[in-house]
């Protein structure tokens, strides 16, 4: 399929990994495309499919906005969670979708991420979260802010139960998601070229009154600054995650 690369503006074939052959831009993946990259075929079972957003601060227009996004994205909210296996090792996964209201974290996203993390802690299975988010969902006011505390406290419980938490940051991961569970993984991976940061680039430019340097807040920059463990290309996602699962069991990997 030939499509326009939003980064280099060329007509390209993005191939099975959905990467621009001309500029290495990573096209956003649908949840199904993402799962197909790393999970054993047919192993994914979605959880919490009935959960939907409410309008906790009774904000005019929010319900319409939700309906519009459901229709546009064919998703019920900005994260899908479930169980699957990777090379026969059971895991819990959460995959965020920027396509639904910019991947913003409201009550549903916070609750589903928390549920995924605690389910992992209960089953003793690693949890892998793929982030893509502009930050907190302002339409839910203070309730969206509190989801940061909620997901972070779930990470604390994962720590207490010695459950592995792996993050894969994709483009973009900013705001309240960065300032909560996205930065709390035992291992934090990122896709090449992803924007990762707390404040958005325009806000920072407004503060300092100048343009940001080239590559600022990209995953390569965050790698250099020490905030992520490694970059992960889509072709090696499955093998990388499988290696992490093997090496993060209690007592480490045991090879026969």
């Amino acid at each position: 399929m030939v499509e326009l690369c939003p980064n280099c503006q060329k007509e390209v074939e993005s191939g099975p990994y959905r990467i621009c052959p001309s500029c290495n831009y990573y096209f956003p993946l649908t949840v199904q495309q993402r799962i197909a990259l790393f999970a054993d075929p047919g192993s994914f079972v979605e959880m919490a499919t009935e959960m939907k957003s409410m309008n906790p601060i009774s904000l005019a227009g929010y319900e319409d906005k939700l309906k519009e996004n459901e229709k546009k994205s064919s998703l019920s909210d900005a994260v899908s969670i479930g169980s699957c296996s990777i090379e026969n090792q059971p895991v819990i996964v959460g995959i965020m979708s920027f396509a639904f209201m910019g991947g913003s974290m409201g009550s549903v996203v916070g609750e589903k991420i928390t549920q995924a993390m605690l389910e992992g802690a209960l089953r003793g299975e690693p949890v892998i979260l793929f982030t893509a988010s502009g930050g907190a969902r302002m339409q839910e006011g203070i309730f969206s802010l509190m989801q940061m505390a909620k997901t972070a406290s779930a990470a604390a419980l994962m720590e207490e139960t010695r459950t592995p938490l792996f993050l894969v940051l994709t483009n973009p991961t900013t705001g309240g998601v960065t300032a909560s569970f996205a930065m709390l993984g035992d291992v934090i991976l990122a896709e090449p070229g992803a924007v990762i940061g707390f404040a958005g680039p325009r806000v920072i430019e407004g503060t300092i009154g100048q343009k940001l340097p080239e590559g600022f807040q990209r995953s390569e920059f965050q790698l250099k600054k020490g905030f992520i463990d490694a970059l992960v290309e889509r072709a090696s996602l499955r093998s990388t995650l499988s290696f992490l699962i093997k090496t993060h069991t209690k007592g480490g990997a045991v090879y026969a």
Binding site: M138, G141, M146, A152, A156, F181, I208
Partner: protein
């Protein structure tokens, strides 16, 4: 753009002066009035409250990693014979101090200093009192380079399971993640004219209403006052404001009353209750019961079972 905003700014300054003269506004205060009051120059800040509440206080500096952030004050105080760790956002009491304190906007070092002092408090079984008063974490180049997101995230995580009582007071502006970074605790109070929100009304107006001049409407729509947050059960109670001295005494009474109760409980009960409270915040439809699974998770931990 700055030219266009000037009349707005003058109007705002006028409003602040009117408000300063009008101390009796209570429940009647509109959301926007609260926003203005919470930001008012000369409003009592963390440093003043610490001085008024403590019999003696020693400030402690630095995050032991990079530097000391003047926008975050921390240290140990004695209150009627009880040792308490105090942590607070600091805006400064005058323009010179405002600049020194970066108007209360912390860099990562501020949050890491807070974390260091909080862990020190836990080690010595000292309760923690946090005073929140910030427009938000600093959105600057250095803050990003040194991981402001990571710093806040760590605080949220560690504070949620810290085995010592934590009392949080929003005394002015409770701005977003920067406020939450020292805002996870057992009890959360707000001064009556303080505000707490996910973004400033100005930001909300420009992003969601696509009109920066609608900050006043945004403030109403966001439901960010102490009365709204009490209704949402996000905060435990509202503390009435009087003179700085009167307000400080009310805060002090609240601290001593709560610590009498909280310090007598086993630390793991405290943490379980704290997590339960956090776990329950949010409104969804079609969710499942979460209390039983949470109890099961507690059982799987060493320290909370």
């Amino acid at each position: 753009m700055h030219e266009e905003q000037k009349p707005e700014l003058e109007q705002t300054l006028d409003q602040i002066e009117t408000l300063a003269k009008n101390h009796e506004t209570r429940e009647g205060a509109s959301s926007w009035e609260c926003v203005l009051r919470s930001r008012q120059q000369g409003r009592p800040g963390a440093k003043l409250f610490i001085d008024l509440i403590c019999d003696s206080f020693m400030e402690m500096h630095g995050d032991r990693l990079y530097g000391d952030d003047p926008a975050m004050i921390g240290g140990v105080g004695l209150v009627e014979g009880r040792a308490i760790t105090f942590i607070g956002n600091r805006k400064g009491a005058n323009l010179k101090e405002n600049v020194l304190c970066n108007y209360g906007m912390s860099n990562p070092e501020g949050y890491r200093k807070a974390l260091r002092l909080a862990k020190q408090a836990e080690k010595f079984g000292r309760p923690i009192v946090c005073f929140i008063d910030t427009p938000g974490a600093y959105p600057g180049l250095g803050a990003e380079e040194r991981g402001i997101g990571e710093a806040i995230a760590q605080n949220l995580k560690v504070f949620s399971t810290l085995k010592t009582p934590i009392l949080c007071f929003i005394i002015g502006e409770g701005g977003s993640g920067g406020a939450l970074g020292i805002g996870v605790g057992d009890k959360l109070y707000m001064l009556e004219h303080a505000v707490y929100s996910v973004i400033t009304p100005e930001g909300f107006a420009s992003i969601l209403l696509r009109d920066p001049s609608k900050a006043k409407e945004a403030a109403e729509a966001m439901k960010m006052t102490s009365y709204h947050l009490k209704e949402f059960s996000v905060i435990h109670d509202i503390i009435a404001e009087g003179s700085a001295q009167e307000t400080a005494m009310r805060i002090k009474q609240t601290i001593l009353r709560d610590l009498d109760v909280l310090c007598s409980k086993p630390a793991e009960h405290l943490v379980r209750y704290r997590i339960k409270k956090i776990r329950g915040i949010g409104e969804v439809s079609g969710g499942k019961e979460w209390w039983q699974p949470l109890l099961e998770v507690f059982k799987k931990t060493q320290s909370l079972s």
